[in-house]
């Protein structure tokens, strides 16, 4: 029993990171129908910016470090959109997709050459003592950092939900998702809306990268695998939907952890992708995504 609860926390931690990445995929897709394959590498970059800040500015507390790394990564995300994607906005969609692939490979190698190819870990900034209450009442050995990562991620997702649903810029984003051509006619600055979307997506991915570096490890190539996983999660949940991306992420993480724990680590990817295909055949637009309902 205690093992099962502990496994649930393992899944929640992984799912939280998936969700932080998946949201970026989902938002960008919702607004400009672009599968941004470089997004996984933005996540990686966020992790490395976090690593740099922690090692260079050892005095910086975590509550400063996290927003700062998120801000820096957001700037990079916006810059990439400005330099590489904007002028392709009306081009054939596939050339944009290939450009995002190119940007991804570029980022991976940039980090490999400047920081080094080694696996690294972001020095622990969150307390790693076990949560006594959980140990006594549920018999589950869960450390504070794991719990905090899950809670902070959920808080970030809640903030995002408020931004999208309760602010002016959020309304603009939803409007662009609804009809990209009509919205500029209403006097909305389309470039600004898209830039903000990229900024938010990149910032969330950076938070995911930092959490991943604390909980597991980071290396220049981690964005490829995790990016695809998060992308799958976004699709399972219904790409374009915030709630869907979060739900899909936790679902995927849960399935993965259960597969590894009770079947075999070798079946992990097969079952995850099989689930994806099955779900898409049952719900062609994902669990939460509906072609006619609102998308972000």
């Amino acid at each position: 029993m205690d093992t099962i609860i502990q496994q649930l926390f393992n899944a929640a931690q992984l799912g939280a990171v998936y969700a932080l990445i998946a949201l970026g995929y989902s938002m960008v897709y919702g607004i400009i129908r672009l599968i941004n394959f470089a997004h996984g590498d933005i996540f990686m970059l966020g992790g490395f910016i976090g690593l740099l800040l922690t090692t260079r500015f050892g005095w910086m507390p975590f509550y400063l470090l996290l927003p700062l790394a998120m801000l820096l990564t957001a700037l990079v995300g916006v810059a990439i959109e400005r330099v590489a994607y904007r002028r392709l906005r009306n081009a054939q969609r596939m050339s944009v997709v290939i450009t995002t692939l190119g940007v991804g490979i570029f980022l991976e190698n940039l980090v490999r050459l400047t920081v080094g190819p080694e696996t690294r870990q972001i020095p622990a900034r969150l307390p790693s003592a076990p949560v006594v209450w959980l140990q006594q009442h549920l018999g589950a050995f869960v450390t504070w950092d794991k719990l905090l990562i899950i809670l902070i991620s959920l808080a970030l997702m809640a903030i995002l939900w408020l931004v999208v649903n309760r602010t002016l810029i959020g309304t603009a984003m939803r409007a662009v998702a609804d009809n990209k051509d009509a919205v500029p006619l209403m006097g909305v600055n389309l470039n600004l809306v898209i830039a903000v979307t990229f900024a938010i997506g990149s910032a969330l991915a950076a938070a995911g990268g930092i959490f991943y570096g604390q909980a597991y490890s980071i290396d220049p190539y981690m964005g490829i695998d995790l990016g695809w996983k998060a992308f799958i999660a976004a699709v399972i949940g219904g790409i374009g939907s915030i709630e869907g991306a979060v739900l899909g992420s936790f679902l995927l993480a849960g399935v993965e952890v259960i597969t590894v724990a009770y079947l075999s680590s070798n079946l992990k990817n097969g079952i995850a992708f099989g689930l994806l295909i099955l779900l898409l055949l049952v719900w062609p637009w994902g669990i939460m995504g509906k072609p006619t309902l609102k998308k972000v």
């Binding site: 129908r33 596939m94 290939i98 190698n109 695809w228 070798n266 990817n269 295909i277």
Partner: protein, 325 residues
């Protein structure tokens, strides 16, 4: 004309390298590169059928390549005698025909089955489903212990050489060229241009799409079969989405819906990578590791300046059908 020329060049090239003539200019390393180019042409040209002519966005090509590679490897090691036990040239030919035929059939069969499911969706969802199947194929192979599981299949005999690859690549190009100009091919293009109109004209869209998918899978299997018997060692991981991505990059670099573009894309990409490796290590060894940074930059610049790829959808003359024929 060009086909004959290439074949006429390929045969003496293979023979003289085998015999060790002009070791500085014609060495097996260059032939190795040309062989890789040939196999990539088969992959890219067949993917072009789906992504260029049919206008879908399939992301699972490496999966069919894996099916072909493993089928050929199994046939060559378990089912057939080694080439040494057969008459010299003829024996290798027989082995190649059997293994590659098996690889194509197997890949086509699996492609057909997957196609049945895949074409229930369109657009980005089709992309995702094909990607999913790619990963499922890779994962299934990882769980098959008799082919080495995740550690890979070793000890495959080297039955392929540049000549065989060149012949296969030319046959593929010829077949695809004729197919695209046939009524089949025109149906695919009509689906790309306007699916509803095509359906109104009496085209069975699902059937036509599945044909394209099966044929593309068969050629990916062919490339896989050649690959396995050239590398002599395959692992499931070499056929995951990273390989698919590489095929896509070469395809879009060259240009869609153009066989000439597929050839150019492959040649440009492969030579670029090796050229950077050689130039950098000859003139600036301290920069050798920057190769992987320069190549994506070139790709981005090309995509920004030539959005339809290097060739667009133009076709070299020898790949166009003869007028009036």
């Amino acid at each position: 004309m060009v086909c004959t020329l290439i074949l006429a060049l390929a045969l003496p090239l293979q023979l003289s390298v085998d015999a060790g003539l002009f070791p500085d200019v014609l060495n097996p390393y260059y032939l190795h590169l040309l062989t890789i180019i040939g196999m990539n042409i088969i992959l890219v040209a067949s993917l072009n059928l789906l992504n260029g002519y049919l206008g879908e966005f399939a992301l699972g090509h490496a999966g069919f390549m894996a099916v072909g590679a493993y089928t050929a490897a199994l046939l060559a090691t378990k089912a057939l005698p080694s080439a040494a036990a057969l008459p010299p040239v003829l024996g290798t030919c027989i082995i190649l025909v059997v293994t590659l035929g098996g690889a194509m059939l197997m890949a086509a069969g699996i492609g057909y089955l997957i196609g049945l499911v895949t074409f229930k969706t369109v657009g980005d969802y089709l992309a995702i489903i094909t990607l999913g199947f790619n990963m499922i194929i890779v994962n299934a192979i990882q769980n098959l212990d008799f082919v080495g599981g995740p550690r890979g299949f070793t000890g495959i005999p080297k039955n392929t050489n540049f000549l065989a690859v060149a012949v296969c690549a030319l046959l593929t190009l010829g077949l695809l060229r004729n197919l695209i100009q046939s009524s089949f091919g025109r149906v695919w293009v009509s689906i790309r241009e306007n699916a509803i109109a095509a359906e109104l004209m009496g085209v069975s869209i699902a059937k036509a799409k599945n044909w394209a998918f099966t044929i593309a899978a068969a050629f990916a299997g062919l490339a896989g079969g050649l690959w396995a018997q050239n590398q002599q060692f395959i692992t499931p991981r070499s056929f995951d989405y990273i390989k698919t991505t590489e095929i896509l990059v070469m395809l879009y670099l060259g240009g869609m819906a153009s066989l000439s573009g597929s050839i150019l894309g492959v040649v440009a990409y492969t030579l670029l990578m090796e050229l950077l490796r050689n130039l950098l290590s000859a003139f600036a060894p301290q920069l050798a590791e920057w190769r992987m940074l320069i190549s994506p930059l070139i790709l981005i610049v090309i995509m920004l300046t030539r959005q339809t790829g290097l060739l667009g959808n133009r076709e070299w003359r020898w790949l166009r059908p003869r007028q009036g024929a």
